[in-house]
Symmetry: D2
Subunit: 454 residues, 4 copies
Amino acid sequence: MNHQFDLDFTISRLGKPRFKSPLELSHVEGDFVSNFIEDGERILCDHSLSFIQPYIREGKEPPSFEAAGPRDKVFFNPTDVRAAIVSCGGLCPGINDVIRGIVLSLNFHYRVHEVYGIQYGYKGLVEASMLSPIHLTPKLVEDITSLGGTYLGSSRGPQSVEEMVDFLVKNRFNLLFTIGGDGTQRGALAISKEIERRKLAISVIGIPKTIDNDIRFIEKSFGFETAFSEGARVLKCAHAEANGAENGIAIVKLMGRQSGFLAATAALASGEANFVLIPEVPFDLDPPYGFLQALEDRILRRKHALVVVAEGAGQNLLAQEGEGEQRKDASGNLKLKDIGVFLKEKVAAHFTSSEIDVSIKYIDPSYIVRSLPSTPSDSMYCQQLAHNAVHAAMSGRTGLVVGYWQSAFTHIPIDAAVSSRKVLDTEGDLWLSVLQSTDQPRRMYNSTKPECEK
Amino acid sequence: MNHQFDLDFTISRLGKPRFKSPLELSHVEGDFVSNFIEDGERILCDHSLSFIQPYIREGKEPPSFEAAGPRDKVFFNPTDVRAAIVSCGGLCPGINDVIRGIVLSLNFHYRVHEVYGIQYGYKGLVEASMLSPIHLTPKLVEDITSLGGTYLGSSRGPQSVEEMVDFLVKNRFNLLFTIGGDGTQRGALAISKEIERRKLAISVIGIPKTIDNDIRFIEKSFGFETAFSEGARVLKCAHAEANGAENGIAIVKLMGRQSGFLAATAALASGEANFVLIPEVPFDLDPPYGFLQALEDRILRRKHALVVVAEGAGQNLLAQEGEGEQRKDASGNLKLKDIGVFLKEKVAAHFTSSEIDVSIKYIDPSYIVRSLPSTPSDSMYCQQLAHNAVHAAMSGRTGLVVGYWQSAFTHIPIDAAVSSRKVLDTEGDLWLSVLQSTDQPRRMYNSTKPECEK
Amino acid sequence: MNHQFDLDFTISRLGKPRFKSPLELSHVEGDFVSNFIEDGERILCDHSLSFIQPYIREGKEPPSFEAAGPRDKVFFNPTDVRAAIVSCGGLCPGINDVIRGIVLSLNFHYRVHEVYGIQYGYKGLVEASMLSPIHLTPKLVEDITSLGGTYLGSSRGPQSVEEMVDFLVKNRFNLLFTIGGDGTQRGALAISKEIERRKLAISVIGIPKTIDNDIRFIEKSFGFETAFSEGARVLKCAHAEANGAENGIAIVKLMGRQSGFLAATAALASGEANFVLIPEVPFDLDPPYGFLQALEDRILRRKHALVVVAEGAGQNLLAQEGEGEQRKDASGNLKLKDIGVFLKEKVAAHFTSSEIDVSIKYIDPSYIVRSLPSTPSDSMYCQQLAHNAVHAAMSGRTGLVVGYWQSAFTHIPIDAAVSSRKVLDTEGDLWLSVLQSTDQPRRMYNSTKPECEK
Amino acid sequence: MNHQFDLDFTISRLGKPRFKSPLELSHVEGDFVSNFIEDGERILCDHSLSFIQPYIREGKEPPSFEAAGPRDKVFFNPTDVRAAIVSCGGLCPGINDVIRGIVLSLNFHYRVHEVYGIQYGYKGLVEASMLSPIHLTPKLVEDITSLGGTYLGSSRGPQSVEEMVDFLVKNRFNLLFTIGGDGTQRGALAISKEIERRKLAISVIGIPKTIDNDIRFIEKSFGFETAFSEGARVLKCAHAEANGAENGIAIVKLMGRQSGFLAATAALASGEANFVLIPEVPFDLDPPYGFLQALEDRILRRKHALVVVAEGAGQNLLAQEGEGEQRKDASGNLKLKDIGVFLKEKVAAHFTSSEIDVSIKYIDPSYIVRSLPSTPSDSMYCQQLAHNAVHAAMSGRTGLVVGYWQSAFTHIPIDAAVSSRKVLDTEGDLWLSVLQSTDQPRRMYNSTKPECEK
């Protein structure tokens, strides 16, 4: 059997739901009224027949995730609820849609009117920062979705878990929504454990945010589509630059520290990329298989080339070059050496020594892909995440993030979600489609065995 | 057990694949090279645990779809292949992406250079029309994705199946890609049956196209995201109109003859709709539950309202009014009476009789939502569909459409795909999210039992 | 001499400016600090040499407009100022940019903090409507430019001039900014005359708004570029529709009641229009010169055609058909018969009788072109108009609209601006460019002499 | 009198126009048919009354530009014409619109069908490069406007004037359209002089292209609006980044080597910039007036700041720092030191020493602003430039660029256009509007006299 899903997907609860949900849904099919989610509803971890077959043979239940959605009984009495929303880490399109979605859902669906925004990330959750929570009314958040960024501000880096729980208690918050990435959700997990230790009835629900789309068990993170759409737009510009000069080479760096989803997806969506370099696939620069010769071949054949490189690609090459030791930023993320600039210099040097006149354009859109307002599709998705987060919180669940997996909304225990990073499956159909849409050799590294087998 | 999937999902084949695929993929995990799809790979029809449980109990295999993707053996010798592409029916964003994707995949992946475009739909597949196929080279189709519409032209209505097969034979085409909706794919099925009857080795592969997103077993049809994104953009304009006048009411009609996907999704994505009327949910105009009173309540409370109505909604109301008999268009689709104009008049009459001064703006974006170029996300999706269609054709499969179901690309026998229309599940989470994002009552019709039970 | 400019362009003033401007500008060239506008600065009404030559010969001063901009002395003491902003009539992109621009300029440049928004147009300027002015702070209006429409709401139709002046007096407003079209500015003129009659020190400054771009002495009205850009986008869609069918004809109706600026400019910007029908140029349907035969010729030659028709075009044809008498809307504008639908029917009938199979798509984007947020270029222009309106008001000028003429910002007395409508010069270069970019015959009407000479 | 226009604006001609224009225009007002331009039509160099007054007093004719447009007689016999189009230098939005416009105008207006595209700039105009001209048919260029870049390719750097004229002669080209900037037009001037020397009848017409908008007597260069619109979009992203962190500072570098038009206009259009640094206005970093203290004041007051810096700003500061000697690129342009990175480092150092925690985001959109397809407004403008270039060429004029000045299309002799660069008038209304829309002090440099007076 597949061990990828050998984790505990049980969701914690604060206690037995005691109140009738204010949502006027039904349990009946065919009455044109949407139904409550029954508590046993679960979504398989893998929808392939081959995954399920051994379980059928053994008569065992395959691993699955709890389905997200509204329950007919809720844990909290709406009139007692005071909710807090916090956004942490780097920007991502759609944060404001998530904030607005939570505020509107609490107000209009659950009649909870005490909803507050924590300023500047976890920093605003400690008394000492003297940042007061903002009362978020439907009127106040009505139009924030037309803006990029986060209405609440954000920050990086951890805060004292004790102080944050003290703050929640002091302000009588009993729902906490944490919009953030890996680090943020680890923080949320710590908060929820401290809450448990103190035997408090405070629900902590995460909405996973990552421009890199690298959170486990989350098929697609919110804002990712906006980001890769903008990435594709930039790649079309870069293609125009490459194409506009004889032997024009455009090199575009896109975000993606440990995974190449953004680079790969933007490349595919643009339909113009000729090389896509991602962290998941090692590559050499030099013969026998290296990138530089492949690029030269392409230039001689087609007179232009568009190279897309993920921020975290080719770290082995940088290490070889001894580009100084690595440092960490305020969130503890490794500061990566700049592969884009490195590649640009290597390409320039290569063609100089080959005596081929080329015109190199280096483009780093950097923050632009992440600070735009969300596309309509992302905006819709954000609302659905927000609604499901609110349903989960009101039902008394805690310590989970809202997931999306094979087209279904799910509940994922935070510790499962942060147990490792999702990376692009280089055996799967996305990477195949990328390779198919480019001109790049199936292999650009030199080793008798693939690295993973060594 | 669930009988929704009681259909035969077996895929027809022209014969045993005889040639090694020119794609240089592998069968090994971990070599950084994408893998061929093994022939037994299948995707479950439903990924919910409750769906799978009875099969586990009984030790039976649950219903599933064949997985799409490249096979290591192909039926056709690439040098013998002559492929034809035809686009039929109404426009849809992304047709050009599909065309380009097929041309590039055949040329670059399978080294098939004889690819032709049939002009103006099935009409171009009959000799008598004197429309010559266009030789589609990679150079020719390179930039067509920046344009809306179809590079090949389209037409509605059936042609003689015999004449079309004669045409294929005469022009020595052995692959036929049909980009089109329900009617087109029924035509493709008829063609493939006639081919079978004549014992020809011609593969017919459909790429389902529907702006209404209503083809069965296709979770999301290509171009749908572009369409609802534009729909959402129009709804934001309409909201500005409603909001810009005291008691402003904007009514927007969106496409959707038998299903409300476009109206519902655009409404949710816009975040601004207050009422969403779709074919799947009956509604009354008059008391006790009718729409007009609900609208009045909203206007008195909030001073503006945005109403979204799908083309096919409220047909019962139109029928009651005796709005003349129904006619059919060239494709045999029923010509629907115009619910948008009808509603606008009823709303105007209601507020006149209520003596409430309102300002009504009626907006019908009509063809605009379907003739735009595709968004980056749709463009990517179209390429993936095109690649999978080419893989299916080269492998000798026939009589199928490429499906997408719970995030996986699949093969669906055409007769299964056209067996009935997909409609919006009013018990499911999309409709719930729509209701949650609007102000509309859970129920706007008067009947002791829901219509479906009567 | 040219009599087009035989009007009095003298600007009224409330009195002598008494206070030093809080703007820290200079009177010196070359100090890198922008200069105040000197009171005698004027802009010629026409920049062609031939216009100026007779004045040179006679040694006379040619007609000119007062230049807009900041003066070093202001009439109002900033601490005494209470400003009101009102938006009237139909929507137009950029209203919110103008509102924001006025609020920010008053607050940050002139330190005026008492700025109020009048709700729902002139209606909000009469006591009886019980609509309270909204205090507009920089914080409140900060992000309104990302939205279409008007933050203040609008309305059509006149109100009692006496009651409006009473309202201004009662609320101690001494600046009134009127954002609106022809009718609105006539209202503003009436208000300013009543103010003069009562010997009050209230400045009334208009910012001309018209989606039709038809206000005299205003080269380009704000929002017009956004509108024609969207118009061009719709025309590209329509072109895809026409092009996507054999003998496809797309007919698009665009706003423009008495002038064809929007239709002509969108057509030119799209680069795809084949016929452009505007109010300024009469056309026949029937032989010898009529439109229908020209359209048929095009269809037979090219198999598709895109027809753009302005709302107000071909009124003579409608009149001939006796399409019922004309009515007026709440603003007193004539309700035009629908030329778009009329044309669509005539085209259909023509090809039926010609026995040519055509596919006709009729598209009416209606309000969509006017309710979008402004483009960056329009946004910039709106800010410049707003700043100049504030400078004019603070200087004690009144009864003027801010104009833009041959690339300069000017002051135009309201009565000059509303003296007649601007129409497209069919002898000039815009219309020439339009004709050059289409396929349409130079002449599509039958008369031995042009209508204007009869 | 103003000496800014003390240049010879006389346009050279190849000879007397001998043929009737194929354009069916008229000379009559009021016949609804656009008129030919009469040869004496001219546009004043300045439309301000004060500019014209001394000429009126002295009875002299003020300086003026020849008006562009179609003439009723043409120099070339259309059947003899072979036209070449070349695009040089960096990309700019709209090049493809200009190319298409020239091709369509020659074909459809003047019935000239021999139109060729020169590949890769002037390089393609020398035999040795072995780059064949491409026959540009209307069909071929039909859809190129949906793409950024240049369909013909471009290159930098000069070629032998003699060889280029040889090439024109050998290929029997008698019209040459040069799309390019300052350097390109100097080249065009040299070509036209060599043509004159050889007594050839070849017309050379320039269409000025500059993303910096810095060509003299050209109010607005094509593509500039697209560029600043994208700049404004990036600035909104940057604002979201600045605003999303406590004490967030975003620094955006925009193109503009010797002029700040792009930075200033994008800043104004975005409505979000707090500091705008351009080459035309010197600034210090350090006290008493320096930028760093002004930035600190803003951060302490508002907690975020958006800084826009033009590529060529602050060169004096870089010089002081002795940042190495300056180099030139292939076109002979000075390679500027990178002010953006420099500024980012200085800002970081300043706040470190001030012990204020800030979050700095540096964004350099680089080529993105110039490789997009044109906006509808730019697209329209490009067509008008193209039409006027064709009219000028067919009339036998030569050695000119098509200008646009105070809203009129003009002819400018190339030597006048390249006599000096246009810079932003820091005394004028654009810079005033920019200052008004930001928070920046009127003065950020320390000198008793402005630099220009020293």
